[in-house]
Symmetry: D2
Subunit: 343 residues, 4 copies
């Protein structure tokens, strides 16, 4: 059994990690920490875990945590970078669900996250945990930077187009929509039921923190300079991301469907739907699958790729478990095979 710990398990990625670890046959949860809730039973904080998780929150303590094989950071940005080295030094593997180790360039990171990076040297050592791109490196990694929710769907959707040089890399548009849980379990008027409910809007249209992360990943698989417009929107729903991706095809006679099916045939968590499909976010609710469909309206030169995922699963906690499975040489789907909770 892999001994696991979670730091900062009071948010939505934390509770989702606990749900998934509780159902994982090869891992057990040893420690969950929270500075603010230390001493409180996890199941008092999250009634959905009553009878499932018997632990109480503790203060984050390196000594105790170093008894774990792997520690997940489910903390706000700017926390993991202060605690990672100590745990790594003790031989604990780390999967960080925050943004601290996602960018290779510390200057870029500091620009978007508004603070100095505490350990820029670890940025190079960290492996970006998108298995469909970096499986081999993840297997060897001590420190995995788990991708953001938007970057997962958007990169998976664009990868085949760029890897096969099918599109002009300067023409990418990602019109992405997220359920409210993507913003986390923090209070903000924007996420009040009466503001987010029965309404819809874009946000951060002039620049969102996930932009450099997506650019870094996509640039790494394409020649020529990447040009990407990324506009996120907030959906009146809880879980789910839908990315609608546009790119200009070099040759409009390409067999998009075939390219996508081939690219992802071996991938257990990317599902290319039949031609003409429109994936619904509710088909992946609670599951680790990213479901993709390819369109080419009026057979023109614009590829339209639709990609959905559950932002808390494939976009966060599920992908973290997938990475853990790879790092510990378990079958990659262990603990992640259940069907989505539809309807």
């Amino acid at each position: 059994m892999i001994k696991t710990g979670i730091i900062g398990a009071t948010g939505y990625t934390g509770v989702e990690l606990m749900r998934l670890i509780a159902g994982h046959p090869g891992a057990e949860l040893r420690i969950v920490t929270s500075r603010s809730e230390a001493g409180k039973a996890v199941s008092d904080f999250f009634p959905s875990l009553r009878g499932i998780i018997d632990l109480s929150y503790t203060e984050p303590d390196t000594k105790a945590l170093s008894g774990c094989d792997v520690v997940f950071f489910a903390t706000p940005n700017g926390t993991a970078m202060h605690q990672a080295r100590e745990l790594l030094d003790k031989g604990v593997k780390i999967i960080d669900l925050s943004a601290d180790f996602r960018l290779k360039n510390a200057t870029e990171w500091e620009k978007w996250y508004g603070q100095q990076h505490a350990c820029p040297d670890l940025l190079e050592a960290a492996v970006y945990g998108l298995p469909e791109m970096n499986r081999k490196d993840i297997k060897q990694a001590q420190l995995v930077a788990n991708p953001g929710c938007y970057p997962t769907a958007i990169q998976l959707g664009f990868l085949p187009l760029l890897e096969h040089k099918l599109v002009d890399p300067g023409s990418l548009i990602a019109d992405a929509k997220s359920g409210v849980s993507g913003a986390g379990r923090k209070m903000s008027l924007m996420y009040h039921y009466c503001e987010a409910g029965d309404s819809f809007s874009a946000y951060a249209a002039s620049g969102h923190r996930h932009l450099p992360e997506i650019r870094q990943g996509l640039q790494s698989v394409c020649e020529g300079e990447l040009g990407l417009v990324f506009v996120p929107h907030l959906l009146p729903m809880i879980r789910g991301i839908h990315a609608t991706l546009y790119a200009t095809l070099k040759d409009s006679s390409v067999d998009l469907q075939g390219v996508y099916e081939k690219r992802f045939r071996q991938e257990p968590f990317v599902d290319v739907m039949p031609p003409g499909s429109h994936p619904n976010t509710n088909s992946v609710r609670g599951s680790n699958v990213c479901r993709i469909a390819c369109h080419q309206p009026q057979n023109g030169n614009t590829a339209v790729i639709l990609a959905v995922e559950d932002n808390l699963v494939k976009g966060a906690a599920g992908q973290a478990i997938q990475n853990m499975n790879i790092m510990f040489e378990l079958p990659e789907t262990t603990g992640l095979v259940s069907a989505g909770c539809y309807p």
Copy 2:
């Protein structure tokens, strides 16, 4: 491995049964039937099952079905009663999720369901599948009538009060609220997103089909004539039932909390919350738990019991699996231990 089949698996209880059986370590799904969708892949019909269920729908065929150890009916009311005997005769156990075998009294059934009962003699043989009341009988049963969604929450909530004779049995009020999936996957203007969304109303206030089922169950555990007012309401949400139950206490100094905790201590799927709690339906989304809290406003003589469940799980498919586990002498929680999908 228990060989299972599902008749009529194109609705919400059907897809939920498939999700649960797919995750059940001791059961496998052999046959799923649908007259209207015969020949179609299940996963084309329900994209959430892509990669999970490889079967195609077939015509309901007794010969093929008789290779199953147990067959679930997820059909509309009035279907199972025509096909049950043939399967029973071949030694197949049946768990019927429709209302066909829930009432003992055929005349009462015919009055509420507006048709003649096809096999009234089986009504007596059928065991009402509420494990918390009838576990022993279920163990021996060939034919289990799986309870309705409202009746499950309402009976579990009232049981301790009546069993311990704590309340006037003539004073019961069940103000119950259900998510829309309780009405099934059928088209009706009432369930159109623009009608059911962002709105709320009661329905069938003068009499709902679940009333005789609840009365039958509660009457069986109480002396004196039961008086029950049951008002169902439609919630603008997908899954979940919340029953708010009122009864007049004979003695307002009773320790309700203690009574409930003791009654359900051994029950794996009934969770009595701490004093002062208000269970949320989202704490049981996708899980088989019925979560209950006890209140006694202003220490008066009215007991207020709050009970929540997922109408598709403990209120339908999950309870059916629980019954299957009992009938086949598996640990009762097999395949039903996962945490709710919160948020």
Copy 3:
């Protein structure tokens, strides 16, 4: 033109008051105050008012406010009581949408609101602004205590039963459900989209602040001691209250429908629906109507009354305008005649 001002117009009752006054042919908005937003244009704060309201928020200033004919308090509880006397002394009429003047008994108020009342002598002078009960007094009032949202629906629903002595006054149960806007535009985890959305629960089952207000009103129209159990619930929707009311009939052969139709025939904002109806909250969204239906399940001795309203209109701002119309001798429906915003 009635010159109006609003104190504390940054919440949902405030923005609704502005919407209604903007559409009122006999009133104009002169001043809107907010300590926190002083200097900011109202339409920057509430984009729905762009092009509708040209004012900016100002600091609450008695001198400026005393140029108004009437001032609405849309402030949190405990604010109006500190500023009311000064305005009254200057001849300004006050309609307070908070709870400060709703209870006649200062001790009771202090118990439920957890603070000392600043001007208990005004409690007697204040008129409780439920026109269907107190129209005559409202006409003469200088200070109107606008009813709470739950108390409006619940009192209107119970009134005919009690006024006609049709029920045992000790047997009342109000199972009430409110949309999230009833809690106001304040941040709380409970109102986060991911907590309140697609879920349902009761709250404050052991005692809610609206209880003494409802009791005071209903007690005033009945003989014998009132016994009322009131359980509020939070609905996953924005606007709307649904009260499901239960009471034990003294004589089950009474013509409930006739009693209700007669009682409210002259009331412009209470609509008794035809027999067998179930009012939907979406039928009153944005309108000042309280819509009521009467049921008597199985012709038994329990009356079940269903009452819906928009908590921000008949339950708050609309009723305040109705009271203003009465106080200034305008036709009572002035500015309140528009149809609900359905769907």
Copy 4:
């Protein structure tokens, strides 16, 4: 008073038309027709109109309708074209909210709507009722083709870019999202609460009927061949359209904000928001405003225009009233000035 009639007033555009006409000081509703509901009181069909509309549905009868000054068709596509000529011949003006007269090219119409056009000669006479483009022609029109909901938002959003030749007309992308009411009050599994709720997907990505309508309008204001990709999506909400529009700027130093403000300064129902804004659909719920914001991410060469409207108001019934006001020389905002119903 303008005497108005509505043909086919049992859907969402019909009920919205009735709501708006009821509040219009210069128009009265004389006749509402419905073949299926003839004889039934409108307010029995739509409880939100109880006390507002006293009419009953009648069979559509040309003689009776010819007493109207203007008749609105709120019928499914393919109905108005059979009845329009007769009414026009009697001097009745027509505002058709269906698609029958929106395209100038009958062949194109027949291709997208799958039926023969009954009166192709009227296509030329019909005026496309987008006042911001065609105000002068609308003033003279006998027959107005009221624009579709998507086309209204998308054309208003793109107009300034094309009129001023700021973008490559072959580069347009319209990623549009609509609330469910845009699909009308008809039953389809796609609009079932459990399918449309808490989920999101694209639909008709390979071609939607509004595409030729949008192309026709935009082509008319631009040189060079228009290239437009239009991908509609279904939002889990009731009212509201959000169009996110992308186009490649010829010169990235253009002052987009200035161009938009100038273009729409005189338009009563187009509101250009301050720089950096993201309009919410809830800010226009129930109102006739189209609210627009301009973005230019990273100051690059992609213009991103955000446009919101209420699909039932500016996208249907409200725009129809606006057209009526123009045709009858009333102030254009008559009956359309109320604030949106927020929250």
